[in-house]
């Protein structure tokens, strides 16, 4: 308790009550302010400022270049996709064309084969017709002969007379 009283008695006349307005301290204050502020200013100006600025700009550069790289990769991927799609489209159209061509050539062959078969069948039918006609004619001729013979045989059985084949033929209408 003795100490504050002691300092109070020594301080009051020296400071005049309000320490910030005690002009006797001003030279020391200004001197040390000048030294410390100049020191800090020099460090900020020459060392810290460029260092921080370098860190910020290098990060910004790294980010920007990474973004640019990503954009480039994206463009590449897009062009690759476009190429793939065009390749796919051409392959598909080629496949379609090939299928169409095959179908047409098959159709032609089918039509040809069908025409050939038709012609063959028509020929066979015609041959059959002529054969039938020929057979019919022979059969007709055979019927006349058979009728004459039958007539001769009937007459002979009934009358015992032999009839010439000419007569018999005349008689049956041939």
């Amino acid at each position: 308790m003795a100490e504050p009283a002691h300092t109070a008695t020594t301080e009051v006349p020296k400071e005049g009550g309000f320490p910030p307005f005690d002009t006797t301290t001003f030279p020391s204050q200004l001197f040390w302010l000048g030294i410390t502020f100049a020191f800090l200013f020099t460090v900020v100006w020459r060392v810290a400022g460029p260092r921080i600025n370098g860190a910020i700009t290098s990060r910004r550069g790294a980010i920007n270049s990474a973004i640019a790289e990503a954009a480039k990769a994206r463009a590449e991927a897009q062009s690759a996709q476009a190429g793939y799609e065009t390749a796919l489209a051409t392959a598909r159209s080629r496949a379609n064309a090939l299928a169409e061509e095959t179908r047409q050539s098959l159709n032609g062959e089918i039509a040809k084969a069908k025409a050939e078969a038709d012609a063959e069948a028509a020929k066979a039918m015609h041959d059959a017709d002529t054969r039938i006609t020929a057979t019919r004619e022979t059969a007709k001729a055979n019927v006349a002969v058979a009728a004459r013979d039958a007539a001769i045989a009937i007459v002979e059985r009934l009358t015992g007379d032999k009839v010439s084949s000419q007569d018999a033929a005349k008689a049956v209408g041939n």
Binding site: T25, L33, L40
Partner: protein, 253 residues
């Protein structure tokens, strides 16, 4: 029992004898000198070594340094344009010096450098000096048109007088604003701390009541932290506004 709340602002030599003399004035190494040295050294070391150029993902302390850098750069850019960025080291140093002085003064038992009118007035005078030198270097005698606003001729003399007075009061308003804010806040803390001590010493129910001013001290402490930042910010932005006038006179960029 009551301690003088102004005692915390007393500047006491830490070394008994003056270091040397300048122009007949004794130069002491005082408690304030110690804090100024700590502020300057700590902020210089922090700003230099927290940052490693080329580190892509910043550490916490690097982020702090970079954020304060960009904060001040943005203040300058928005207030004084691209041309103002020439003054970046100056404004950044001012901001950091004032901010660290305010913050370091918040430690109990330390000393608030910016609670001394000599310091704040010196800083403000330095700002005005830089403004005047910049203005005359850039515009020559035309810098004086700063005091001639666009107005009818019959009112011009009065306006010129007002502009001149407002220019002259700038170093005072700039320094007293910072000084008074720091002084008032710390005085208030000391007064309430005195209440805590005297109530606690009174005994009985009064001792219990001393928790009231104690909580109040905590609240004021938080407010003072805000004020500490805000005053550094105000100091920096006003510097930028004055620099802008020196750079661009009345034509706005």
């Amino acid at each position: 029992m009551a301690t003088n709340p102004m005692e915390q602002f007393a500047i006491k030599p830490l070394v008994e004898n003056p270091l040397f003399q300048i122009g007949g004035h004794d130069i002491y190494f005082t408690n304030q000198s110690l804090l100024m040295v700590i502020v300057a050294l700590a902020s210089a070391l922090f700003l230099t070594f927290a940052v490693k150029p080329g580190r892509l993902v910043p550490t916490r302390s690097q982020s702090m340094a970079e954020i304060s850098y960009e904060f001040v750069a943005n203040i300058i850019h928005s207030a004084a344009g691209n041309e103002g960025l020439k003054f970046f080291p100056f404004v950044f140093t001012l901001f950091i010096f004032v901010l660290c002085s305010n913050f370091f003064g918040m430690f109990p038992g330390s000393f608030t450098v910016t609670s001394q009118i000599a310091v704040t007035l010196a800083l403000a005078s330095m700002v005005i000096l830089v403004v005047i030198v910049t203005g005359f270097l850039k515009h020559g005698i035309r810098f004086l048109t700063l005091f001639v606003p666009k107005a009818p001729i019959y009112i011009l003399p009065l306006l010129m007088l007002i502009e001149f007075i407002s220019f002259c009061t700038r170093p005072i308003s700039l320094s007293v604003r910072l000084f008074a804010n720091m002084l008032a806040g710390h005085t208030m803390l000391a007064v309430f701390a005195g209440f805590v001590v005297s109530l606690g010493a009174a005994g009985g129910i009064l001792s219990v009541l001393s928790i009231g001013p104690m909580l109040l001290i905590v609240a004021i402490m938080l407010l003072e932290l805000l004020v500490a930042f805000l005053q550094a910010y105000v100091f920096a932005i006003l510097t930028c506004i004055y620099l802008n006038e020196a750079l661009h006179l009345h034509d706005h960029h």
